[in-house]
């Protein structure tokens, strides 16, 4: 990163977040998919609709929400695996939202993705060494003995050994495969790693291994993570700040501790109360908010607030207007009319 860029970015940093360097800034990002609805009719699936947030250097930014809320689409759009419909994606100050594949290459080195399914994301016909070094080959970074050494270093950094380099993915367990995926993501020494549900396919005891590995790597290499998951307790554990998504919209954004202690958006409150706690006494004591119904389809979302159809606190205004993201307290953003009115009157 160019040192000269830093003061400019500090000015961009929003209130309550101090003088921290912004690594990634997403502004009004939209990603619509065209879908066929049968009989020649087409529709727009608004997977991500007008989402803005920043990720600071060295932090873990968690993105949570239920399936279909657009969290994975955001990750993939930031990695430019999808072309955004509208909006800006600034990495280190440069907008990459509309660059072509060739222009994107240097930026691909700055961010890498770890995928959810460690079974589907590794080519079964390639050796582990080749999988891990493929990014090096594509970017023509290392050849010969240097490449070999790099492979061994990468494998060791994720807790595998160099003997593993000549084996094939099917010889490994789920947790080990995810380590291979992490080693591949580290090969280009990226600044930002987009972790798209990296532990969802793993067993509980193995999840903790991978989470600890990710935390260690962050400490050693100063990595920044965009951590996408639906498991709220894991996201809270690993993230510094968390964004909650619903139906393509960001509805709440706060420091992870604040979000869990004082969730403001009715959806966040319901989501948190729905986590099954491994503690019988706590479970019977806790008041659970059970939401009625299901998430509406993003092809035909409600006109006003996306959550209005299930919200226990909805007012008539919520049906007509979309609530903007408002900073209720420093660093705590909520998109809800009911909550915001309460804060104004206070």
């Amino acid at each position: 990163m160019n040192q000269g860029d830093i003061p400019v970015m500090n000015e961009q940093a929003k209130s309550g977040t101090g003088n921290r360097e912004v690594l990634l800034e997403v502004q009004n990002l939209k990603k619509y998919f065209h879908v066929s609805r049968g009989f020649g009719r087409t529709g727009k699936l608004k997977a991500v609709d007008d989402v803005s947030f920043q990720i600071f250097k060295g932090e873990t930014f968690g993105l949570v929400g239920e399936s279909g809320c657009g969290k994975t689409t955001i990750g993939r759009t930031i990695a430019r695996l999808y072309k955004p419909t509208a909006g800006l994606i600034k990495i280190g100050g440069t907008d990459i939202a509309h660059l072509n594949q060739k222009q994107l290459r240097p930026f691909r080195r700055k961010m890498q993705v770890i995928f959810q399914d460690p079974y589907a994301s590794l080519n079964p016909r390639m050796t582990v060494g080749d999988i891990v070094s493929e990014p090096l080959d594509i970017h023509k970074i290392a050849v010969g003995p240097e490449r070999q050494k790099k492979i061994y270093d990468l494998l060791e950094s994720v807790g595998l050994t160099k003997e593993h380099a000549n084996r094939f993915p099917h010889e490994f367990s789920g947790g080990q495969r995810q380590r291979i995926g992490i080693a591949r993501a580290l090969a280009l020494e990226p600044e930002l790693i987009i972790c798209d549900e990296p532990i969802s396919a793993l067993d509980v005891s193995i999840q903790a291994q991978v989470i600890n590995l990710l935390e260690d790597l962050q400490k050693d290499k100063g990595l920044t993570y965009l951590f996408i998951a639906h498991d709220l307790s894991m996201v809270q554990h690993i993230s510094h700040r968390i964004g909650v998504m619903y139906l393509g919209h960001l509805v709440e954004l706060a420091e992870s501790r604040t979000l869990y202690d004082e969730p403001l958006h009715p959806y966040t409150q319901a989501l948190l109360s729905a986590i099954p706690v491994p503690d019988p006494d706590e479970t019977s004591r806790r008041k659970r908010i059970i939401l009625e119904g299901d998430v509406p389809t993003p092809i035909d979302p409600p006109a006003g607030c996306p959550f209005v159809t299930r919200c226990p606190k909805a007012s008539p205004r919520c049906k007509e207007e979309r609530p903007p993201m408002v900073e209720t307290r420093p660093g705590h953003f909520v998109a809800c009319f009911v909550v915001n009115e309460k804060f104004v009157t206070e």
Binding site: V277, E282, D294
Partner: protein
């Protein structure tokens, strides 16, 4: 809790399901995989039993063994499964079919694939009724509406004539539950009933299941990898590892006084959301053993931080552990001659301590 008397001399009549030394093996081309290696399980009438374990621990194979649906090349190679006094393990498939879906019903993980996509919901529920009861079309339809009502599906009359694709994931799971309850089963086996669902939908289904527990008399076996799911719903818990039950006891015993290092490991692997300071997770190192050649000693010894010499050589039986009346753990640490090992902190315990601190 059902408040049943937990006398040591509880008459055998109270036991609905009694599995003794069940062994199920898959004869694969690389050799026999011993998926279930001698499991004893008793389920009382009206009791909800949670079976917890990670993938490959044998929890699903065990439940499939109960209803005789172990897929080829799997076979029950040993043990008995007494259900209402009959041994299901020895029963002919023809007779088993009369029990399956009738006296023992099952809810599967994936409601998307376990319903027939080309048949209306109503027809699928009524099929179960016609198969097991002599009932007229009208009565079957009435019963189907009743069932959909019971599981909280709005306007059941019109929903009966819809196809599965017209239902969302949570609604399909409700339909599955309605189907399983059609014949008032004595035993309901739910295999990861909420794993495929989103958190808020999972909460709806769990709420429904605990609500149903008060309305129906069925015993429930709930199979899950999520300790949070059983905490709310079950009277007692069995923790499975590598084809064996490693710890069993009342729900409170398992959460507040676990006595097996694997249970400690499971509880410690879960992040604690109510703790002020962020702590590092304590994972269980290594991986479960290969059940093609299971170890001679304790299957967990290789990953166990407290393993002793005997653990490598001899399999620990379920030994009485802790204060709980029916609390037993298959770990040599609970043997009278073993040195006491302090259990590491785990989620529930920490909260207990917190409460005591406040009091």
């Amino acid at each position: 809790m059902n408040g049943k008397s937990m006398d040591a001399n509880t008459p055998a009549a109270d036991i609905l399901l009694d599995i003794r030394q069940l062994e199920t093996t898959f004869f694969t081309h690389v050799g026999p995989v011993q998926a279930v290696r001698g499991v004893d399980l008793k389920v009382e009438r009206g009791e909800a039993v949670g079976i917890v374990g990670e993938s490959g621990c044998g929890k699903s194979v065990m439940s499939m063994s109960i209803i005789g649906l172990v897929a080829n090349p799997g076979k029950i190679v040993g043990g008995q499964i007494f259900f209402n006094g009959q041994d299901l393990a020895k029963m002919a498939d023809k007779d088993l079919r009369k029990i399956r879906g009738n006296k023992i019903a099952m809810i599967f993980q994936d409601p998307m694939t376990s319903l027939n996509p080309v048949k209306k919901i109503g027809g699928q529920i009524m099929e179960v009724l016609h198969l097991h009861q002599s009932i007229s079309r009208e009565d079957a339809r009435k019963r189907a509406i009743e069932l959909l009502n019971l599981v909280g599906i709005p306007s059941p009359e019109s929903r009966l004539d819809q196809y599965p694709f017209e239902f969302s994931g949570g609604m399909r799971q409700r339909v599955m539950i309605a189907m399983s309850l059609a014949c008032d089963p004595d035993l309901l086996i739910a295999d990861e009933p909420t794993t495929a669902l989103d958190v808020t939908i999972q909460a709806q289904i769990l709420e429904l299941m605990s609500d149903l527990r008060n309305k129906i008399n069925s015993s429930i076996i709930l199979i899950t990898h999520d300790l949070g799911v059983v905490a709310n719903l079950c009277d007692s818990i069995r923790v499975m590892y590598a084809g064996k039950i490693v710890e069993e006891g009342k729900t409170r015993d398992i959460f507040y006084e676990p006595r097996h290092p694997y249970t400690w490991g499971l509880l410690n692997s879960i992040p604690k959301i109510n703790i002020e300071e962020k702590e590092r997770l304590i994972p269980i190192d290594g991986q479960p053993p290969d059940l093609l050649k299971p170890p001679a000693g304790c299957a967990f010894a290789e990953r166990c931080p407290h393993a002793m010499a005997i653990c490598q050589q001899q399999q620990p039986p379920l030994i009485k552990a802790g204060q709980g009346h029916e609390h037993r753990a298959a770990c040599w640490l609970n043997h009278a001659q073993a040195e006491a090992v302090a259990a590491p902190l785990f989620a529930a315990q920490t909260q207990q301590d917190k409460l005591e601190g406040q009091a």
